[in-house]
Subunit: 436 residues, 2 copies
């Protein structure tokens, strides 16, 4: 049984119990949300995933880190370092997006070492092996693609991005739209080419029942990909994007009917004032399915800083109801990220998620901030470092800008406001005068 | 005449003409907004400021970089380097917050070298010299403070932060509130101590007319400081903060009556869902005065990343109407920033401001993003680098993660979505088939 089927049968799985405990939510409430498809627990039955996480309504916003090789950087070792960096900085999920080197061996290592959920985009492997073998993705057969998906499901991949909504209908809308950046999703691009060259429909759409069968057998969560997501501010929330989302909403419904867990991927590049509308639309069209956003980036002009442009968009999206943030690193739009970039990317996305958790009343979120501020007020540096979202970086920066005063920091030194005012304000407080 | 008085007299100053041209706004509209006090042009009559900027309604969101020494880092040279870094990365204003070394000499150098507006917090100099001389800020006289303000005005400082709203009334509200972090503003802390120790009212409030006289004579823009701004998420938008804001609103009115330009400073640390309300409140209570926000930081737990926590808050604030963002660097809460931190801080704040400019329809903002995306689609790397908000960093990252393909980047290498799809999608487009 999938987690969804268990929930519907009223059966609490060990994963549900653990998540309810970790997130301090009532197990019965969690069970109801999973049964309704509003929370998913990506966990393949074939893999021993030591630290399962739930994604969706009422839970802490989760963060995914994309790692994986490219043709230019095909080696395994750096990717294992990135995996370690992602885990150390608190990623809740890791996607292996490898397209270079020995893709199968790399995935195997990542699956073996990663205690949290692992996702993939199976068409990457399918497309790359066909391109290497025959020179073009258009020579891929439908069976090539489904065989690859099934193999990955057997290996234990917990969730897969499948661009089922890139259909003849949505591509037609894209062509009528006249976009600035057309298709920016790799998977979406492979499928679009394949469909146009072969003059046929997307097999992930036509054979969606086959996909559901594989997903159900191994309890692979479908992450319904937005292959036509906007790749620029100018293209945001256009007819092609919304057409694809409508189709994805229908596919969420079919997944649920088949007992398969499903979430939906979203943009992308979105101007600040359209973000909340995007979340509302997705939640409505997809009947409350967990929403996994890839950014959104609130401007196109900041290569080198897209961890920041996406932290802004991610925070606003998460406040509006997005459940799962795909990190973006400083190297986005410029190259494959380094290990240091992975650290920056995970922390930036976690900041965005946490800022939303505070205002959504997620258990423990506001308390964390309160504790930090109490430590700050007490000038308790040891505690501040322990509570920092990245204790390593906080310590490095404090040591680098060392101070002569053990109490204050080198910005204000002896003129620290909290230190200066304490004596006067507190003596008054203690005297309970209450007025001056 | 101050810029405000000129505008009221219907007289376009050279600064107004330049700003109208640079910002592509109608000069008459700009003049009306200045006359109404909804736009300010901080420019001291005693200083040759080569690049004046307007702050307020309908204009591009501006960014301020705080530089200046502390007791732990008292040297001039690093601060001049930071000035250079702030200007190179596009700061619209610089505040010299020096509290260490030869404060007067440092300010003189910064004023001489800085082509954009320079702000200060005069009470820093007044307090530090009294502390050095007599051991405690409480020994400062009212005349000490006013003499310092007048001296700085004569020297050419363009705007000054004056915490006029830290009154017996607002401190009393603070004491009743029971905050987590009490007072986190240095100027606010100095004044609070002084008032409590001397059992008297804030001279910046009681002698506000004297302050207005100095400001009017030299056309120094008053930046009405929020000495009681919240320093933690838990304290945001509390009664003490709002009490001070009410008082600042009254003082904006009096400044306008005296022909003095005024803007209002705002928080601080604010949870995401309270930011828009803060802007609405300030704009209403202060009759549309330009709003200068110090953050806001959307979480307390991220020392080392407060350029990001503040970029999130700053973007949301600016979208809601904040006009002027004070940058925050990665070293906030840990120490005095380095030159590298200044760069990061300015760019993060500029990203926040620009994300808001896009949605506010500021002339040129969305066009910048469109051009970047067109360059991306064309895989025109030269143009992408030129258009990057930080061309230096974008180039470094691209070179570091170099690629075998001149066209694509090393993330996707030959599988670049835009490259992959172009051939198929464009051939269809060119054939004007419109459907598949």
């Amino acid at each position: 049984m999938t987690q969804l089927e268990s929930a519907r049968a009223g059966k609490l799985t060990p994963e549900m119990k653990l998540i309810a405990e970790n997130e301090r939510v009532d197990a019965g409430v969690l069970l109801d949300r999973i049964a309704a498809g509003r929370v998913v627990i990506p966990k393949n039955v074939n893999r021993d995933q030591r630290s399962p996480r739930g994604i969706g309504e009422g839970l802490r916003v989760k963060v995914n880190a994309n790692i994986g090789t490219s043709a230019d950087f095909p080696d395994l070792e750096p990717e294992l370092e990135k995996l370690q960096a992602a885990l150390e900085t608190g990623a809740d999920a890791v996607m292996d997006l490898s397209t270079g080197g020995d893709i199968v061996a790399i995935r195997k290592e990542i699956l073996a070492r990663c205690p949290v959920q692992v996702g993939t985009v199976p068409i990457y492997e399918a497309a790359v092996s066909i391109i290497e073998e025959k020179g073009s993705v258009v020579d891929m057969t439908e069976d090539d693609l489904f065989a690859c998906i099934e193999r990955q499901a057997r290996e234990g991949v917990d969730f897969i991005t499948v661009h089922c909504g890139v259909t003849r209908e949505s591509i037609s809308r894209l062509q009528k739209e006249g976009r600035v950046t057309d298709v920016v999703s790799r998977g979406g691009a492979f499928l679009t080419c394949w469909m146009l060259a072969n003059e046929t429909e997307n097999p992930l759409y036509t054979r969606y029942d086959d996909l559901l069968e594989i997903a159900r057998e191994h309890d692979v969560t479908l992450s319904l990909g937005d292959g036509l997501r906007p790749g620029s501010i100018a293209d945001a929330t256009d007819r092609a994007q919304v057409q694809e989302l409508i189709i994805l909403g229908e596919l969420v419904q079919r997944a649920r009917e088949a007992g398969v867990q499903a979430m939906v991927e979203g943009p992308g590049h979105v101007p600040l004032d359209q973000i909340a509308a995007n979340i509302t639309l997705q939640k409505r069209l997809c009947d409350g399915a967990p929403f996994y956003v890839l950014g959104p980036l609130v401007t196109d002009v900041a290569p080198g800083y897209d961890h920041i442009t996406s932290a802004i968009g991610g925070a606003v999206a998460a406040m509006a109801g997005a459940d799962f943030l795909c990190y973006v690193t400083p190297t986005e739009h410029l190259g494959l990220p380094t290990t240091a970039d992975v650290r920056e990317g995970v922390i930036a996305a976690r900041i965005a998620g946490h800022a939303a958790d505070i205002v959504k009343g997620v258990p423990g979120a506001a308390e964390w901030d309160r504790e930090m501020s109490q430590a700050r007020k007490a000038l308790d540096w040891k505690r501040q470092m322990e509570l920092a979202i990245d204790p390593v970086k906080a310590r490095v920066l404090r040591e680098k800008r060392t101070t002569t005063s053990e109490e204050a920091c080198s910005m204000c030194s002896s003129y620290c406001a909290m230190k200066v005012v304490e004596e006067y304000l507190d003596s008054r407080k203690n005297a309970k005068q209450g007025i001056l």
